[in-house]
């Protein structure tokens, strides 16, 4: 069942239930009070009649000193005529009187309405005791009050009866009125409550629609609920959640695309040397022997194999830098720079290039192996770009708490169109030159990754035919202790 329907039905049922209970209790109470008053009135009237009798009989006895058997009937009729004239009877105001003897023989009666055959009210009467009963005859209610009175020492029964059906009719009228009111109120309530419950639960439907859209993949969907209640809070939180999910998904998609390009490039880079190796070895395997051809083929197989090997090493470096968790420790920078220089010596000598190091030592939080790897890659790139007998500068400068390491060459340079792409793995500017040097285009992506690990910036400035400058900037470095001490003295 829907929420609005639940709210609607429950409140409606509750209203009907409580309204009716309250109404009927009220009507019943009013009726009871009315009835009680009527009964009291009737009792008083009956008492009045019976006491009249008793007083009259006592008075007559005293006056006439009568014998044991006076004529009761005479005195009764005299009394009743007096009573009747006294009360000035009007319809409904006063009840009727019936007088009976011990054997229930009617001595006097002015009852105008039917009397039931059963007369329990006349049984078990004793002196000073009054019985009353409400009896329904022919759909009308009658009240009967009876007591016993000694007249001339003869006990007679005085029965008082009154039509009280008007009270019951009144009750019925009230009930009908109440029912009408009840129906009117409930239907009004039902109509208003229908709209109110719909209005209250409307934000839920909005939320549902939004969640459905999001679950179908429209992560940019947002909930728009304008209210000042909990729905507003909920929708705000929901939107926050949706935004987080959207960001995460976009991030994942981007990284997925990156991974895909990486794998595509990797397979491409793998397949090219593999094609040569397979092709040339197959040539040797299947062709008729021809020394020149065989030498050429073997030479290609060797070179392409070397290229694969080189690429495998670089790939391992990249994967190492990408996947490992590194703990950065404060280290002096210069010893690492000299280590990197040492491992590049052979390549420097091959082209007779001078590596000029301008030093300024400081301490930087770093992973020694990674920094060495990055420096080697950058110097190697500089060597590849440089002509024979040229110079490469490696400068370390400390400004405030920042350390700059720059590698400057005066080689071939990189044109602007390539500059923003060179960080991508496998991107190479000059394919032919890259092949010759066994490059695969991974070096700079390794450097970039290493810079990321160290939260360092890496920037490249280059001008075609003039040279390239790559700068690594470390934040939060500490100037080398010795220098600090010197400056203090």
């Amino acid at each position: 069942m829907k929420l609005w329907l639940k709210i609607y039905l429950f409140s409606l049922l509750l209203l009907i239930f409580t309204l009716n209970i309250a109404g009927f209790i009220l009507i019943q109470k009013l009726h009871n009070d009315l009835l009680e008053k009527e009964v009291e009135k009737c009792l008083a009237e009956q008492k009045f009649v019976s006491s009249e009798f008793r007083i009259n009989s006592l008075a007559l006895q005293k006056i006439y000193y009568l014998d044991a058997s006076p004529d009761i009937n005479m005195s009764i009729s005299a009394l009743m005529s007096e009573y009747t004239s006294l009360t000035n009877r009007e319809d409904g105001e006063h009840g009727s009187i019936e007088i009976l003897d011990q054997q229930n023989k009617i001595l006097y009666s002015d009852l105008k309405f039917p009397v039931s055959d059963e007369k329990q009210e006349l049984e078990n009467l004793s002196d000073g005791k009054t019985n009353y009963i409400i009896r329904t005859l022919d759909d009308k209610q009658y009240l009967y009050v009876s007591s016993i009175v000694n007249v001339y020492n003869v006990p007679i029964k005085i029965l008082y009866g009154k039509d009280i059906s008007s009270i019951y009719i009144e009750k019925m009228n009230q009930c009908t009125l109440f029912m009408k009111l009840d129906i009117l109120i409930c239907s009004l309530f039902a109509v208003f409550m229908f709209f109110i419950s719909r209005l209250i639960t409307k934000p839920i439907n909005t939320l549902i629609a939004s969640t459905q859209k999001i679950s179908l993949g429209q992560y940019s969907e947002r909930v728009r609920i304008k209210s000042n209640d909990e729905f507003n809070v909920l929708s705000n939180h929901f939107n926050l959640m949706a935004k987080t999910i959207e960001d995460k998904i976009n991030e994942l998609e981007i990284s997925n695309v990156e991974k895909e390009t990486f794998i595509n490039n990797l397979t491409h880079e793998l397949k090219t040397p593999l094609t040569s190796i397979i092709g040339y070895s197959n040539l040797i395997r299947t062709a008729k022997y021809n020394e020149e051809l065989f030498f050429e083929a073997a030479d290609y197989i060797y070179k392409e194999g070397k290229r694969l090997e080189q690429m495998a090493f670089k790939m391992m470096d990249l994967i190492y830098a990408k996947t490992q968790e590194f703990e950065l420790t404060p280290e002096k920078i210069m010893p690492i720079i000299y280590e990197a220089e040492k491992s590049m010596l052979v390549k420097l000598k091959d082209k007779n290039i001078d590596l000029i190091i301008e030093e300024e030592d400081c301490i930087v939080d770093m992973d020694k192996d990674l920094i060495k790897m990055a420096l080697c890659n950058l110097v190697e790139n500089a060597i590849k770009a440089s002509k024979n007998n040229s110079k490469i500068y490696l400068k370390v400068t400390v400004v405030h708490d920042k350390t700059f390491i720059s590698i400057v060459d005066s080689g071939s340079g990189i044109s602007k169109e390539h500059l923003d792409k060179i960080w991508q793995p496998f991107y190479v500017v000059d394919k032919a030159r890259c092949r010759k040097n066994n490059g695969a285009g991974i070096g700079l992506s390794i450097c970039k990754k290493i810079a990321e690990v160290h939260k360092a910036d890496i920037k490249i400035n280059s001008e075609l035919c003039k040279g390239t400058e790559v700068t690594l900037t470390f934040n939060n470095s500490i100037a080398y202790v010795n220098k600090t001490i010197k400056s203090i003295y």
């Binding site: 595509n264 397949k271 090219t272 040539l283 092949r435």
Partner: protein
């Protein structure tokens, strides 16, 4: 197929990797084709405008101008193109063929496969002659006839196909498995001895016992 005597088929190789380019060139020349090498897309475009070629083998990732772009520009020249690429994604394949290429070969490729595809494309363009020659033998592919001088030599269907394949891959050893697959089909579960038996018959019937060399551990090679 190498109607070599009359008109050499000229193939342009556009491949930036020198090793692969040379490999293709060697294989093409062994199969009797003429070829030219270009290592750059733009250079290839300029060359194609000036000279005519019977077929172009083209890498997709090229410096200067990529393969798809080049393909678009040379479409009007109506030269059959076979893409040679390391990209083996389905989308790339579809793109390649949609752009108007005749075929699409994924690196690393087998030389025999490359040659077979080249031949199919050339046949489609009717650029290769119907008649292949070997020594004094003339092999008419469409008619399924081998003539020695003026005399027609009777061969069974399988023997004919075997000979044709050997002639097409002259100076190249063909493995028994390759021959089985090509002539008898994938489903054939025959033994490699079947090949040996057929080779014996072909040798005898055509009198070329010395020309069909048995290559140790591999298969057979037809030599002139």
């Amino acid at each position: 197929m190498q109607g070599g005597l009359y008109l050499k088929i000229n193939i342009l190789i556009i491949e930036d990797d020198e090793a692969i380019s040379n490999l293709i060139k060697i294989n093409l020349s062994m199969a009797g084709y003429e070829s030219r090498q270009v290592f750059d897309g733009l250079e290839a475009f300029n060359l194609l405008k000036e000279e005519s070629f019977d077929l172009v083998l083209m890498d997709i990732m090229l410096p200067g101008m990529d393969g798809f772009e080049l393909m678009k520009r040379i479409k009007d020249l109506n030269i059959p193109v076979i893409f040679l690429t390391a990209k083996n994604g389905l989308a790339d394949k579809v793109n390649g063929l949609k752009s108007g290429a005749e075929d699409y070969i994924v690196k690393p490729f087998e030389t025999v496969e490359l040659l077979a595809r080249i031949e199919i494309v050339l046949r489609r363009y009717s650029k290769n002659s119907n008649c292949a020659e070997f020594k004094n033998l003339k092999i008419y592919e469409d008619e399924r006839i081998i003539k020695k001088g003026e005399e027609t030599i009777e061969l069974t269907l399988k023997e004919f196909e075997l000979m044709l394949l050997l002639v097409k891959n002259k100076n190249r050893a063909l493995s028994r498995e390759y021959l089985l697959e090509k002539i008898w089909g994938y489903e054939f579960m025959g033994e490699t001895r079947t090949i040996d038996a057929h080779i014996q018959k072909v040798r005898k019937k055509l009198d070329i016992t010395d020309n069909i060399k048995t290559v140790y551990k591999i298969g057979y090679r037809l030599e002139e």
